[in-house]
Symmetry: C2
Subunit: 550 residues, 2 copies
């Protein structure tokens, strides 16, 4: 396997061959709400037309880096630099498609061992070269932007050659995994031995273990299997001041938890080279259910009751009225859609909200939980649809980013954002975020269609995940995005939510971080960073050193 | 209620009226293993005979503090100072009983609000007065020692007047609680509304919410209800640089987790004044089971299987051969004990290990889990004893510290220590720690009797909790304790355990912290501390600033 090959096409999501046309039903609904710009075709520029700044890496530094990883693994060709210049946020895609890169790494370096990472960081610190750790490059918050800061050059360190599952402790149910292992490779290795991490962010196919840990990631099954921060039991981090190794313990009272300072540190403290993760046995039984609720509030009430009663859902995903309507609009045929709506109307449901759930475990246990779940949902007014909508969602669960590429080509923008909040604030927050987005976008003359779903449950609250569609404001797409992002983020913070439930901070959420954690915490974080990264080379401009304004 | 009254007697554990004689069976077993020093009676000195250094608090500082809390709540009388001079570790008790205090706070201050705590810290920072946060004073690791450091004076700030349950969010299942609320008061308030935190450290009756959070505490039901670090969802901390408020979120990806830096910070960063905690509904059903295993290994194997299969035990406590023998020795009568042993021998069990478990929840769920648990235990060779041993253990679960007071009087020492480790290391670690303690104590001429139990289960490992008995080395008790502590701690670190699973670091575990977390982490922690406590007044000499040697 060539682990230096970029896995994603340089201008968009994933790999070729997965794109399809926007479905007619979706066009109808987007036309109605946003004014679909018919006939637009805005393809991305060609690779050779991308404006790419000259590499500023000196020969001397290049030689020093090459001495560590061998010359072949210090790359500064056009394709490599461009494919490591940005993540996959909406503004990233707007800039990439237009060929307007404002920054790019001067080189990409591919170490093959933790010792090589240690050595690279020592040289970069000595030579004042900024470092951007790079896993799969799927960040949607500017986390892998090649920010040079005050330094003479910036290199991306790709972890993709650190691709080994080092150890599986079958007795303790932990796996020690190198940072550059991609989702599918990890699951293949684990499942061959009967285990699973079951960490499935939407980026699963193109993101790495190191990226998950660095961004405090949550996956589509994290309600059942836990967020990555809950599943990290040991860590090895390379820092400019030397390696940090945190031993694997199930639990400890030995002071503040060091792991929880490195998990979510987004490459600003160092490079996570290895993580010891909690794994589980592959469940012997998996059962799904799908429901329509008469409204969003009864759906969230059911989810809250299920979660708080210890029912342990492994997947739970409740779409609000708009998201459900958008899903129904894309059903096989208009006839089919009308049939579903008539069926629901006959049962008093005129603003349906779809819930899909899944229970994993031993057969008898799964059966008991499912039956308990059904009782709760029915009491809350849910109408059962069997397992098909859930399995259908699962089948397509990694494909929606391709739709974004297609919509961008056809003159639309698509943005996503997420938060979490205590149950007592969810209803109000759901409405206030939607309203803020709609007001802002209407004012700009590009009315938005806003979808939302709940995808992660906790005893004390849940996540809210938004998808926003609008017509592109041609020539002012970045300003349009900033306005949208600011309106949503202001509403999140004002409503008591967190600025990000699983996308991380990067550059894009940094302006709202002080409101959430306070300036004191950021000062503490910067002081801790100064110990391991005294010259500040690690991922400049992100997280606690991110911009004050978008 | 007078919240400035010390809850514990000044020279020992808890309150008068709970002491009893050491049971004859215990004496027999301790005589056999340790050489019981018959006829010894070493009562504690009288309060007036305790050597207490003069208070060095200046009138000026005293006046400033009094302006904040009123004069009445700045106390420097003998009884108040002595009762805040130490925690309840073995060396604390040795020193207190002998009246040989090496340090004591110059005054104890009792703020009644978070604003008063903020103001007190500002004055102490300005006046260079060291601060020891004081909850219930039950630390067994030197966490509340009045270490003056380089400062002119040291005050203990007692949180006992911050005694309010501020808010219960019944929808989100969280309770916001002031730091000085004691365990029984919290549970009374919560249970009156149908909720529980179910956090029951052995110190439950005499310890506070703030103390639990500051020491990263675990309780006897934490296997089911979670450690305190898992249950803190929001925090308010007063620091010399000003208050830090961490908003309540169920989960977030907004960078490293700030809560997890303050949880377990042991008063070195500031004073936790308020915590928002996850609570649960009081379970409708509670069922217990007790078993004898043929050996410790089959017992841990059963626990591992139960935990890893998602059975969700709420209490699990497996005693090793020595602890089981010690428990049996204290049974009602010799006849009864012999009866039990004969019953077990007939079933092939000659070295019995007692396991008690409890399942909490809805009735049908509890029944299902219990039946599943029974199947696992039987397969591993467990012999069922019904629920009585568990309920009996529960009845007495807060009383063993009183036995320690009695044994100290009768010429014995009793020490406890705890760790956790991955399942794959537990068996070896269990043996190596016992062996290290026994070797060290035998060499000193005071052979030890070492008991151990598992009390906290995690998917990836479990805790080990040791109790050590030996004859006092009269006149060299502190040296004897240091030797014992060092031998055990060296073995813990060497065997891959954590230096403390729930007792915290304080002064006593500080020498082993670098081996566990590395020096880099401690430097990061000190740098973060310098931001909130620039002059270093907060709880000097503990945790990251604790001694390098015992």
């Amino acid at each position: 396997m060539d682990n230096t090959r970029p896995r994603m096409r340089w201008w968009g999501w994933g790999e070729d061959g997965n794109d399809g046309p926007v479905k007619p039903g979706a066009k109808v609904i987007l036309s109605k709400h946003c004014g679909w710009p018919a006939g637009v075709d805005r393809p991305h520029v060609e690779l050779e037309d991308v404006a790419l700044p000259e590499s500023t890496l000196t020969d001397q530094v290049r030689t020093r880096l090459g001495e560590i990883v061998s010359e072949e693994f210090v790359r500064d060709d056009r394709a490599t630099r461009i494919s490591h210049a940005a993540g996959r946020s909406l503004p990233d895609l707007i800039r990439l498609r237009a060929g307007q890169l404002t920054s790019a790494p001067d080189a990409v370096v591919y170490p093959a061992s933790t010792a090589e990472v240690d050595a690279l960081l020592a040289v970069c610190a000595e030579q004042s070269v900024a470092v951007v750790p790079f896993g799969g490059g799927t960040s949607v918050v500017g986390g892998v932007d090649a920010v040079r800061g005050e330094f003479s050059a910036v290199v991306s360190i790709s972890l993709t050659r650190l691709d080994q599952v080092v150890d599986i402790d079958e007795e303790s149910l932990t796996a020690t995994v190198q940072a550059g292992v991609f989702g599918p490779d990890l699951e293949e290795t684990l499942q061959a031995r009967g285990f699973t991490l079951a960490h499935y962010p939407q980026s699963f196919e193109f993101s790495t273990v190191g990226g998950w840990v660095a961004t405090r990631s949550a996956g589509q099954q994290s309600t059942g299997y836990g967020r990555i921060d809950e599943n990290v039991h040991g860590l090895r981090v390379a820092t400019p001041a030397g390696p940090v190794e945190l031993r694997t313990t199930p639990a400890t009272a030995a002071g503040p938890n060091p792991r929880q300072l490195f998990v979510g540190s987004e490459g600003t403290l160092g490079i996570i080279t290895e993580a010891t993760l909690r794994i589980r046995r592959v469940p012997s039984s998996v059962q799904a259910d799908s429901w329509f609720f008469p409204d969003f509030a009864s759906g969230t009430a059911a989810l809250r009751e299920m979660e708080q009663s210890g029912l342990h859902l492994d997947i739970a995903r409740l779409s609000d009225v708009n998201e459900t309507a958008f899903g129904l609009a894309q059903l096989g045929s208009e006839l089919q859609r009308k049939g579903v709506l008539a069926y629901l109307r006959a049962r008093g449901i005129t603003t349906p909200c779809l819930l899909v759930v899944r229970y994993d475990g031993a057969q008898s246990d799964v059966r008991a939980r499912r039956s308990q779940g059904r009782a709760i949902v029915r009491r809350r007014g849910g109408v059962n649809l069997g397992s098909v909508p859930e399995t259908s969602w699962e089948k397509h669960r990694f494909s929606t980013p391709y739709l974004r590429d297609q919509l961008l080509r056809e003159g639309m923008i698509v943005e996503t954002m997420e938060t979490s909040a205590p149950w007592s604030k969810v209803e109000e927050l759901h409405d206030s975020i939607s309203a803020a987005i709609q007001a802002e976008m209407a004012e700009r003359g590009t009315p938005a269609f806003v979808l939302c779903h709940v995808s992660h449950l906790y005893a004390s609250g849940c996540s809210l995940y938004y998808t926003v569609f609008a017509k592109q404001q041609v020539g002012a797409e970045i300003a349009q995005w900033k306005a949208l992002k600011s309106a949503a983020s202001d509403a999140i913070v004002a409503g008591g939510g967190t600025i990000t439930h699983h996308h991380a901070v990067g550059t894009d959420h940094a302006p709202w971080l002080p409101a959430e954690t306070g300036q004191m915490w950021l000062r503490m974080l910067r002081a801790a960073k100064a110990e391991v990264d005294p010259t500040g080379i690690m991922n400049p401009g992100k997280l606690m050193n991110g911009p004050d304004q978008l």
